[in-house]
């Protein structure tokens, strides 16, 4: 199957099983504990940036989910992140409603629009779907600007209503993002064990076999889009709260590509450490290079290519090394 994106090295599950202690669960717990105490050591601006990292990690996860469970690539996930972000932004600035209500709304909208997009594109695969998502991404900034009565147009919205009244806002922006990321990662890990998740994986690799055992491939495609759209919207909601502003600049076509780059950089991983790598990449590269903006696309491009070539040559190199070890 030449149209599967499956050439990335799989997580070193055998290794981690061997070393017993470092199971994915334990790694995640250690990591989360570390992250819980990080703000105490870091300054406010770094705490803020890390919050954005967590939010972007959720977006990277949304893209990777589609790859892992659907075998499809999206270059249009800013549609879903925008949906989530504006749910939070609009409810906050227009109605003063906090995350309690806006996050569920974002989730529902994300899933609903994921399904809505999936239905007309249910028979598209590979590059055809990718180009369609691209059109989706292009339509986003235009829609935001045209609904400026609601979205504030170019100016955007400022999210200021606290999630927990009375708690320091800077801390909230950090911990809410962290909590969202951990929750989403946990839910996604559960999905892998569920009947639905397994059926999606089977439908991805062998649609005919899935069909023959009662999983319709159209169902699989639509479900995966719904899930990925929902997670994408949660990314947007978190971005809105942790980043405090929502404006069209955050949901450009390039941002959609950056999410994909993050996903590739994390080797389409779904675990907490992996998506954190992707999210950190998406967040930190522009920050570190903010003085010389032209280098940002170059660096993203090089990272994308580098990861793809590593993914391509790594198994070969590893095989060659193993062969050497066996003979030598």
């Amino acid at each position: 199957m030449s149209d599967q994106v499956s050439h990335m090295p799989s997580p070193p599950s055998a290794l981690s099983r061997l070393s017993g202690l470092a199971t994915p669960g334990v790694t995640a717990v250690v990591l989360v504990t570390l992250l819980l105490f990080l703000p105490a050591l870091l300054g406010g601006s770094w705490t803020f940036t890390l919050g954005l990292c967590f939010a972007n990690s959720i977006g990277v996860l949304a893209v990777s989910l589609l790859v892992r469970y659907g075998g499809e690539v999206s270059i249009g996930h800013t549609f879903f992140t925008a949906l989530g972000a504006y749910s939070v932004g609009v409810l906050d600035t227009r109605y003063g409603i906090s995350l309690w209500a806006s996050v569920p709304l974002a989730l529902v909208l994300g899933v609903a629009f994921g399904l809505l997009f999936a239905w007309p594109s249910r028979n598209l695969h590979g590059i055809y779907l990718a180009v369609t998502t691209l059109a989706l991404a292009l339509a986003v900034p235009e829609m935001i600007n045209n609904f400026d009565g609601l979205t504030g147009g170019y100016e955007g919205l400022y999210v200021a209503t606290p999630f927990l009244p009375g708690v320091d806002m800077g801390a909230q922006r950090y911990y809410v993002a962290l909590a969202m990321l951990v929750l989403v990662c946990f839910a996604v890990a559960r999905l892998r064990l569920s009947r639905q998740g397994m059926a999606l994986l089977l439908a991805k690799t062998h649609p005919a076999a899935a069909d023959a055992f009662g999983t319709r491939r159209v169902w699989a495609r639509i479900s995966v889009m719904g899930i990925s759209g929902g997670v994408g919207a949660l990314c947007g909601a978190t971005l809105a709260f942790s980043g405090s502003t929502v404006s069209p600049g955050g949901f450009t076509f390039w941002q959609a590509i950056f999410l994909l780059v993050g996903s590739v950089v994390s080797f389409y991983g779904l675990s907490l450490p992996r998506v954190l790598i992707g999210g950190a990449f998406v967040t930190l590269v522009p920050q570190l290079l903010s003085a010389s903006g032209a280098w940002i696309p170059v660096l993203y491009g090089l990272a994308l290519l580098g990861m793809i070539l590593i993914g391509h040559y790594m198994p070969r190199i590893r095989k060659a090394l193993n062969r050497n070890r066996e003979t030598g």
Binding site: R68, A187, V188, R190, L191, L193, S194, R195, Q196, G197, M198, A199, L201, L202, K204, T205, H206, A208, A209, A210, D211, A212, F213, G214, T215, R216, W219
Partner: protein
Amino acid sequence: MDQMTNALRGEGIALSFGGIKVLKGLDVDFRAGEITGLIGPNGAGKTSLFNCLTGAYSPQKGTISYAGQPLNGLPPAARAARGIVRSFQHVALCPDLTVRENVMMGLARTGTAGWLSAFLPLPRGRQERSDMARAADAALADLGLPDVGDRHPGELPPGMQRLVEIARAVVGKPSVLMLDEPAAGLNNAETQDLTAALRKLVSPDLVMVVVEHDMDLVMSICDRIYVLNFGEFVAVGSPAEVRSNPDVIRIYLGSDEDE
């Protein structure tokens, strides 16, 4: 007469791809309680017939029914829901799932836990998973593969992968079981295990159809055999009848059979 009602029947099944007639109006009557063999040289149309019966292909002509109920127009998933299940000639296991999970997919259609249990650790979903896992382990053990549940299909030799594929088909207690070359790639011991397991499966309610090139296996387990050549049946009957049929002998001596 009970056996007759639970049969999988096809009448006048005709299938062509761009003018090439692959199946030329086949009548089949696969009865419950028996093992039916479907043999024929490469390219005869055996897999295509399976595909028509399971709904993967839609034949241009003909009717298909199970237990008197028409199946025409039903998608594969709907036929699976009626217990019509198959294995694939080219092993179609998911490399991302463990062997046990692959077999569990044979039970997917029976699952009832909803989406909430897919994302949250609710008792319903956990219960479902452990029930399915237990059934999968039992099916694997029946086929002589008790210890491979936690491995991934790619780590197993081809023969074992095929047995896993069969385990996935049988685990859901199907009412129609269609096996496409179940013994291809199996060694002698594995073929023995398979033969025993298939014999054990026979029950008055089960329609079992086996496409196979291993003549010893076919002749020893089948009650009735259909011989297909160029999309037409050249013989139908008991193993002894088929073995002595001059047309069948000609077909098999004429081509390089016996793999």
